[in-house]
Amino acid sequence: MKKIMLLPMTIAMLVGCNTKQQQPKEEKPADSSAAVQKVAVTYPFSHKYSINWQPGDDKITLMVLETFKKYVDGDVAGAMENFGDTIELNFDYYHYRGPRDSVKAMFTGERAKMASDIVEHDTWLGAYYPDYKATWVTMWYKEKWTDKKGKMDSAYHTDDIMVKDGKILEIDGKMRHYPKPAKKM
């Protein structure tokens, strides 16, 4: 349950991929920057999602980051303004697809469990996938939080957020915990 709480908080992740159609390999657009690297590369894996991407619109990345910040700052209602009517969530041990109101209620409950939430970003990347007319914004960040009992914890996240027609439709969160400090003798 703790993990479920953490991931919704983070609000983001890219490349849900599970429901996407099998795509032909390496359909790079002729105008892509990849055109400068026309190397015949054979990959040992097929892929479910398109690998045809290009740098995304900065405004979409900005919208996702602002949405995330609103959540982190406790403004769940403000954050939800940028979500679509139906949202898919994938977090640790958790999957949900349903209406925005339900997601809002869940996010509100999870955020309320925290007394404070601090996020330190390593980087982010907006990638536009023309085959789906969708942008995935990926955020890499460290999250530190304190629950209402005063207990502190932290984790490293990579969240993928899918945006289509200006709305967030999917969040896919992955994470790793930091090593536990060695106990003092």
């Binding site: 890219l14 590369v41 894996f45 999602y49 640790d92 041990y93 999957h95 982010w124 990347l125």
Partner: protein
């Protein structure tokens, strides 16, 4: 003569770089047209700060993808020695509750230990991205995939991965694994 040769090479590199930039420019315009909203490269104040430009990443070398995927495929098929060929002599490995810079010998031992109790591994790849930083100093390959495995007692399990692998001089120098578990199926009554 040597200097002249160097100048010629530099001129050629600059010319090629110029050509690449000309090729890249329409790609950005294409993205704008497809997404129906103009991309703004400046005067954007992001909600968070990072230690490099906000639009730091370009599409990277696809050969790096091949390096990484070949290593993963070799590991998947139990060929640890082949997989290790893609790694540098020293590797930083970050995973759940683990973060250390280790020698290749340690990496070898850990890879072999990973296989010790397993009968099979299956990778279902979702997506991969190769990126390079604007200053050309950092290259990463990101992988998104489902990993399923069966242990030697016949028990199966699975997890979803997002791995970032840093490439330097054609070798993997960092492996940063993030995961999420799938929901536990409800027990039948």
């Amino acid at each position: 003569m040597k200097k002249l040769f160097l100048w010629l090479i530099m001129g050629l590199v600059l010319f090629m770089s110029s050509c690449q930039n000309q090729v890249k420019q329409p790609a950005a315009n294409e993205a704008v047209a497809d997404s129906t909203k103009p991309a703004v490269q400046s005067n954007i104040h992001y909600a968070y700060t990072i230690g490099h430009p906000a639009d730091n990443w370009d599409r990277g070398n696809q050969e790096n993808v091949a390096i990484v995927l070949n290593a993963l495929k070799a590991f998947e098929t139990g060929n640890v020695e082949e997989s290790l060929k893609a790694f540098a002599d020293s590797v930083r490995w970050s995973g759940d509750y683990f973060d250390a810079k280790i020698s290749k010998d340690s990496l070898t031992a850990m890879f072999k230990d990973s296989w010790k109790n397993l009968a099979s591994i299956k990778i279902d790849m979702s997506d991969f991205e190769s990126v390079i930083s604007k200053d050309k100093k950092d290259e990463y390959v990101g992988l998104w995939y489902k990993q399923k495995w069966t242990d030697k007692k016949g028990k199966t399990d699975s997890i979803y991965h997002m791995d970032d692998l840093k490439i330097m001089n054609g070798k993997i120098v960092e492996l940063d694994e993030k995961t999420r578990h799938f929901p536990i199926p409800k027990k039948k009554m």
